[in-house]
Symmetry: C2
Subunit: 340 residues, 2 copies
């Protein structure tokens, strides 16, 4: 396998260097042909690396960037004022072919805006989308868009379906992934005009295996491989899913510390709970793809720890090895030509 270089936005996320540096070192250990470029303030990165004197740092380099993107920077502001930020400098390395992917846990809006400007969209892409897998009983379902766009017209939703199909084909090796639209009912009459019109567009495309509307409670039911919605709805759906899981976790832990049943169950539940958490924990199931760009850009959860951020790096490596952007471009071209 050819060697692979990934740029890590070292300054992004809730924990910045305290997560990105150890996660990078962990990833280098795990994968012997991986090279990582840590992008950020050189002195701070070097200082953080002092904690890891015993690690093999031969496949790690630093690319200095003066500035950082703040969590409350507007996308427009990041385009104007943050061209010297670690995020922008990492994306420039991707554009120039010095790395094959960028991983960042920073401000999502800024990452999308800067990616569109610096890395550029694939030909024909109207709006890029953010897409992540959510776990289901027997696998996972890709949900998109997760917040790249706050509103999407039917043509956008239709293109999300096409890009989601490409992702599922490439990553999961499915021939004809099942595509559904997230809606407030399964009947044809339900939902907004936008969802109705998107359904008509998707259903009319013989290249897409459209299976209809799906409701929020059926996301985990293995009834679709790709679920399409606008970015506002998708972001809230994903976060409600995380919030519910963490709420249930807290409820259960509280019970485990109460009464004799709780304590006994708590003891025996330890190993089970770990296995269970591995499946549902968003920190492990981490790494959202920015789809529709001329390069691999992966967004990590802002609150991801070392394990989670390493997963996002792994996700990026995987997308590079399968050349996801080329596959999406091919898919879009096939759709476009079939409509000519």
């Amino acid at each position: 396998m050819a060697s692979l270089r990934i740029a890590v936005d070292a300054m992004g996320g809730d924990f910045g260097l305290r997560t990105t540096v150890p996660a990078s070192i962990k990833s280098l250990k795990r994968c012997s042909d991986l090279h990582i470029t840590l992008v950020g303030e050189r002195a701070s990165i070097e200082n953080e690396l002092k904690r890891h004197r015993r690690a093999d740092l031969s496949r790690l380099e630093i690319l200095h960037a003066d500035d950082i993107v703040a969590d409350d920077d507007k996308p427009s502001q990041s385009l104007r004022d943050k061209r010297a930020s670690s995020m922008a400098v990492a994306l420039e390395a991707l554009r120039d072919g010095r790395v094959s992917a960028v991983v960042s846990a920073g401000n999502t809006g800024a990452l999308m805006a800067l990616s569109c400007m610096i890395v550029s969209r694939l030909p024909g892409v109207r709006r890029p989308a953010i897409c992540a897998p959510i776990p289901s009983m027997h696998g996972h379902t890709y949900l998109l868009d997760l917040g790249a766009n706050v509103d999407s017209d039917p043509a956008n939703l239709y293109q999300f379906a096409t890009m989601g199909q490409a992702l599922s084909r490439v990553v999961d090796d499915l021939d004809s992934p099942r595509i559904a639209l997230l809606n407030i009912g399964e009947e044809l009459i339900k939902g907004t005009r936008s969802v109705q019109e998107a359904a008509a567009l998707i259903a009319a495309d013989e290249h897409l295996n459209y299976v209809g509307f799906i409701e929020g409670n059926a996301l985990f039911s293995d009834r679709a491989d790709v679920v399409v919605c606008d970015g506002f709805v998708g972001n809230i759906a994903l976060k409600v899913c995380e919030g519910t899981a963490s709420f249930i976790g807290r409820l259960l832990r509280e019970r485990f510390h109460r009464g004799i049943y709780g304590r006994v169950a708590g003891l025996t539940m330890g190993p089970l709970f770990n296995a269970f958490h591995k499946k549902i924990d968003p920190r492990r199931y981490n790494g959202a793809a920015l789809l529709g760009l001329q390069g691999v850009v992966v967004k990590s959860h802002g609150g991801a720890g070392v394990v989670g951020f390493s997963e996002a790096i792994k996700h990026a490596s995987f997308s590079v090895r399968r050349d996801l952007p080329a596959m999406i471009a091919e898919q879009l071209a096939a759709h476009a030509s079939s409509k000519d």
Copy 2:
């Protein structure tokens, strides 16, 4: 306490009479001053009642209705063609003062449309909303709208905040419930134009204790008493919450049947799991209020069983005793007069 008569749409919901009849009998047993009018096809109801020969049926009467609202009836269709349905006949009994509330597990869109036409809106209400409590660590949070409207402008969202405040004051006895808007970030710059404008309207109203934007993962955090969103988003948020809880339940049950740890944990977990389910199960946490009408109308989950449907009846009784519609009217009038 004065006696109370509630109309139950006996034909609605996934299980129809097999749920509504036993739930009504259970409710009558639980509450000695409750009277119930079962609305639906008389012969079928009488037939179902044969299963309950030993129950005291003295506070139960039947109101015949020929027709039923189907799950895929459009709201407009129900207004035109379903005036003889159990749902419409129950709402007419409410309008005429023969009952004080209606409980139905039928088609939500039809229930809302028929309620607006037959029971009428309170003065000043632009759009009614559906509102239900979702559980949190130390209580619950009211979420609205849950699907009465598929799109809502800022003025609608503002009025939902006012109605939600009234509900929280009446039901939870809170003086100044905290109001939040559901959004894809907490920063002021996040979200759609509609959410941004609604935030400005709500923040400017000194009668509302507005605490800002809240994200999907913070719904369970006890940081707000009322969370406002449009009906499309709210419906999906609620169903994702249900779906996640049921997915985790299935995962845990699967673990409990696997290996020695699982079996031991399964034995001890029994009592805990029951307590836990009581807190999170939407079938128990059942009963959504249709707010903004001149009467109490409660929507039960379509898939609710006997326990869940009884909860919805209890919810309706409670709202009648506290005269929720009058409280909402008062609240809306106060807001309107403060703006004059």
